[in-house]
């Protein structure tokens, strides 16, 4: 399986994260084993399972508005989620070593408050905090916030990059030795200006003294989950981990080489940014069993009602009158306006092309609407026996299609258990995954060096970001 990997070099280590299943149809709620979406025990179970498997980190997505379908609340998918940082702080009490990563929007938060919360989480977890920086330009979500309204898409990565830089400046606002705490002399601070900062930029003009002394990682890990040109450049300029959609082998390699080559521009080495695609899996004792399970899960994920909904997402029309077990509609997609069918979820980039492709496939293979949707949306990334899946993951990593994966189980809370029980030992046997944690911090798990100062990030990032508005956005909603 590893014919293309070089035998002489030490084998690249695989990095793994566990994604709490998101509020979309990939999360199966109709299964008898599906538990609560909101009870703390569900979060604790997944985080502990991932820690038992020696994963790098637990990952939480965020969506700040309940999704709507034709202007009414969307009923088909799981919904309801906790406040990101609050549940991660609680998870720090029921885990010891695993990293705790949360998604927080750069649009509906302010740098001061976000830096304060993530630094607090880093203290409270003993150096295990990470922030997934996403942009959310839509007025739909903005209606829940003071800031309100709409952020010009052309500004979203300008804001995100300045946001991330400002957060790093805040994390650097205390010198390492500012907190003295000498009882004898009564000197708590070395200097009366500890924590002073001032940032004046296009997006943020703030100054004062930061409330949180340096945290164990100093700079908690920063993730980025955007896929556009602007998102890729943001990853290279500002992030430690890129969470991508490219879980295929060839497109994974293409993304990997594209983003890694951008790092030099910012004075960074290839190993300074880990690329972790989101991935799903279906395991079986035999190849056939795994395929059977995969097909079963796909049917659970695409209920008859969901099949119509996912078709509407491309067609941008009300298709509720169509039979999910019947043929595709004769009408073409409505390309005339903004996508309005399902708000709060990312739609296709080019609906006309997607519709043509789907129609051709349905005609060729005589597929019903539901069978087509099952076929064309969200197939599991890794299907097979544990040995096959372990070998595949290793092959991807050794051949630079990824540095590892962010695994998204389809079931809460037990969906990751089979992977940890069956695949992790095989990755450990192959010598590509840790048998025990060797570090106390998430930076350590990821093999990231000491935090680079904000001044170095700023200097390397001095040229203006290139935003484009034509590529799909990273949003505060669930990723891959």
């Amino acid at each position: 399986m590893t014919a293309t990997a070089t035998r002489q070099q030490p084998r690249k280590q695989v990095h793994l994260a566990a994604h709490f299943p998101g509020v979309n149809n990939h999360t199966v709620w109709s299964d008898p084993q599906a538990g609560s979406q909101i009870a703390f025990s569900s979060f604790a179970h997944l985080a502990r399972t991932a820690e038992r498997g020696r994963f790098d980190f637990f990952f939480l997505a965020e969506g700040l508005r309940v999704r709507e379908h034709h202007g009414r609340l969307h009923e088909l998918d799981v919904a309801g989620r906790p406040n990101t940082t609050a549940v991660l702080a609680a998870l720090a009490s029921v885990t010891d070593r695993i990293g705790l990563a949360g998604t927080l929007s750069t649009t509906f938060n302010e740098p001061y408050e976000l830096a304060r919360q993530i630094a607090s989480l880093d203290h409270l977890s003993g150096g295990r905090a990470a922030w997934n920086a996403v942009t959310s330009p839509d007025a739909f979500t903005g209606a829940n916030f003071r800031r309100g309204g709409y952020l010009d898409p052309s500004l979203r990565y300008s804001r995100a990059r300045e946001f991330a830089l400002t957060v790093r400046e805040l994390w650097d606002s205390w010198a390492a030795d500012d907190l003295v705490g000498d009882r004898g002399t009564g000197r708590f601070l070395r200097r009366g200006e500890a924590g002073s900062f001032a940032h004046a930029g296009d997006q943020f003009d703030i100054a004062g003294r930061f409330a949180v002394p340096p945290s164990p990682q100093r700079h908690p890990v920063v993730l980025q989950a955007g896929d556009s040109e602007g998102g890729r450049e943001f990853a290279a300029a500002a992030a430690d981990v890129a969470f991508t959609r490219h879980s295929g082998f060839e497109d994974g390699q293409a993304y990997y080489v594209d983003v890694k080559r951008r790092l030099a521009r910012y004075g960074r080495a290839p190993e300074d940014l880990k690329i972790l695609p989101g991935a799903t899996f279906a395991l079986g004792d035999t190849e056939a069993e795994a395929q059977e399970l995969a097909a079963h899960v796909r049917r659970q994920q695409v209920s008859p009602a969901t099949a119509i909904l996912l078709l509407e997402l491309v067609w941008n029309r009300d298709l509720s009158g169509y039979d999910p077990d019947g043929p595709l509609p004769q009408v073409d997609p409505d390309l005339s306006g903004e996508p309005t069918v399902l708000r709060g979820r990312v739609g296709p980039t080019d609906p006309a092309a997607t519709a043509r492709k789907w129609r051709a496939l349905a005609e060729e293979r005589q597929l019903s609407i539901r069978d087509l949707v099952i076929e064309v949306t969200g197939r599991q990334s890794f299907i097979g026996t544990p040995a096959h899946v372990a070998a595949e993951i290793d092959r991807y990593v050794q051949n630079d299609a990824a540095d590892g994966f962010i695994l998204v189980p389809h079931l809460i809370p037990g969906g990751l258990d089979p992977f940890v029980d069956q695949v992790i030992p095989l990755l450990q046997e192959r010598g590509v995954f840790r048998a025990e944690y060797t570090s106390d911090t998430l930076r350590g798990h990821l093999g990231l060096g000491p935090a680079r100062p904000a001044t170095a990030w700023a200097a390397a990032s001095a040229h203006p970001p290139r935003d484009r508005t034509d590529a799909p956005a990273a949003t505060a909603t669930d990723s891959p």
């Binding site: 609050a86 609680a90 009490s93 409270l124 916030f145 009564g186 708590f188 924590g195 004062g208 002394p213």
Partner: protein, 413 residues
């Protein structure tokens, strides 16, 4: 039966407490330290502990950040500290401060609801106005005029009124967001393929002078329905804020007579604003140093004053005394209508355990304090029932939060 809470501070409420303590100077940044304090409080069967917070750095002056180097500076986000403690405590209510001036109301509502989920119903929220001009510069979104509580002008009084009016809107929208999912909104109906019943979720459609929020919340209704809102108040404007918005008001009487006067003023504020919730539980704050004789307690306080270079001052009454004398005073205050107390330990290393190990057994022997946790939620400890969902009560007729007096209703349909 009286209620007892403690305002936790990593070292204590005397600014020099860190210098006499054996705690690590970074204790306030360490989860294990907070866990020890919370478990100590829990051992005394306290109703709840509060966690101080503010956007900016601590200061010896209200109006601005100072440059002192001899006092504790730096702290963690209070909601996250409380959430960190939740899985490791039982029975004890956890009440963090969150700002009504700078925090997003939507984030506050999900944060406190989440604290309620991770603690199985032990969350509360202390909403606090933060009016320091320097704090506004940390966010850069609004400006506040510099002002001092000791020199209020008509202009600064108008600013204060406006900050409390905004605070009232924040609490109002947070409460509607907590109710924006009915308890049975998740139906998991395989027949129709529906996870949710959309008729049991509600847009809150709040529009006020300071912000608007569409809703519904992303977080389902918390276990308590409405986690208790606990507000500290020292004057008429905040009394009215508490009367409109809170379940518990923390007040700062100087003595028994003052306690009676304040209780009367709180009741008058309730009548003036037409309070619809059950009457406020009035808790009195006291800053305490407890020793086996009052001379020792006074000497300890004096030693700390000496270290700090000035006498301790506080908005709350300060008592350096014995547990017996304090218990007697608390009982006298209770006869004026005070329902409970929030004690601020002068030195946590000494005074927290004096509260849990000396004061609490005394109150128990007098039959005025619980001998075990009787309820599992904070509302139950406080004798509050789990409220019906506002949307269920209103039925389909009114889906819009009631506007503040003087405010134009938006789409009352």
């Amino acid at each position: 039966m009286s209620h007892l809470a403690v305002a936790l501070d990593p070292f204590g409420w005397h600014p020099a407490a860190w210098r006499r303590s054996t705690f690590d100077p970074t204790a306030g940044l360490r989860a294990d330290h907070w866990v020890r304090l919370a478990r100590q409080a829990q051992s005394g069967l306290l109703d709840f502990v509060t966690f101080e917070d503010a956007p900016g750095l601590q200061s010896s002056r209200y109006e601005a950040v100072d440059t002192r180097t001899d006092q504790v500076r730096g702290r963690l986000d209070a909601v996250l500290v409380a959430a960190r403690l939740a899985p490791l405590t039982q029975g004890l209510g956890l009440v963090p401060t969150a700002s009504t001036t700078f925090a997003e109301p939507f984030h506050v509502s999900t944060a406190i609801a989440t604290l309620d989920f991770v603690s199985d119903g032990r969350a509360g929220w202390r909403p606090q106005v933060h009016g320091r001009a320097e704090d506004a510069r940390l966010f850069g979104l609004r400006s506040l005029p510099p002002w001092s509580p000791s020199a209020l002008t008509p202009e600064t009084q108008a600013v204060i009124r406006s900050l409390f009016a905004e605070a009232q809107d924040v609490v109002e929208v947070v409460r509607w967001l907590w109710d924006s999912w009915e308890d049975d909104a998740v139906i998991r109906d395989p027949g129709t393929g529906r996870f949710l019943d959309r008729d049991r979720l509600h847009h809150v459609d709040f529009t006020g002078e300071y912000f608007s929020v569409k809703g519904p919340s992303i977080t389902p209704r918390p276990p308590q329905g409405q986690p208790p809102v606990i507000a500290l108040a020292h004057a008429r404007v905040p009394y009215e804020f508490a009367a409109r918005s809170a379940d518990v008001v923390l007040v700062t009487p100087a003595d028994t007579e003052d306690a009676a006067r304040i209780v009367a003023e709180v009741r008058a504020a309730e009548a003036d604003v037409g309070r619809s919730l059950p009457p406020l539980l009035v808790f009195a704050d006291l800053l305490t140093f407890l020793d086996t004789d009052s001379g020792t307690a006074e000497a300890r306080r004096a030693e700390l004053d000496e270290l700090d270079g000035q006498p301790l001052s506080s908005d709350a009454a300060i008592r350096a005394t014995t547990a017996t004398q304090l218990a007697e005073e608390l009982e006298a205050w209770e006869r004026t209508g005070i329902a409970g107390f929030r004690l601020r330990p002068g030195e946590v290393a000494v005074d927290l355990s004096r509260i849990t190990d000396q004061l609490v057994p005394l109150l128990q022997s007098r039959g005025t304090f619980r001998r075990s946790y009787t309820g599992s939620t904070l509302r139950e400890q406080l004798g509050l029932t789990r409220p019906a969902n506002r949307y269920v009560v209103l039925g389909g007729a009114a889906r819009t939060p009631s506007p503040r007096p003087g405010q134009t209703p938006e789409d009352p349909s």
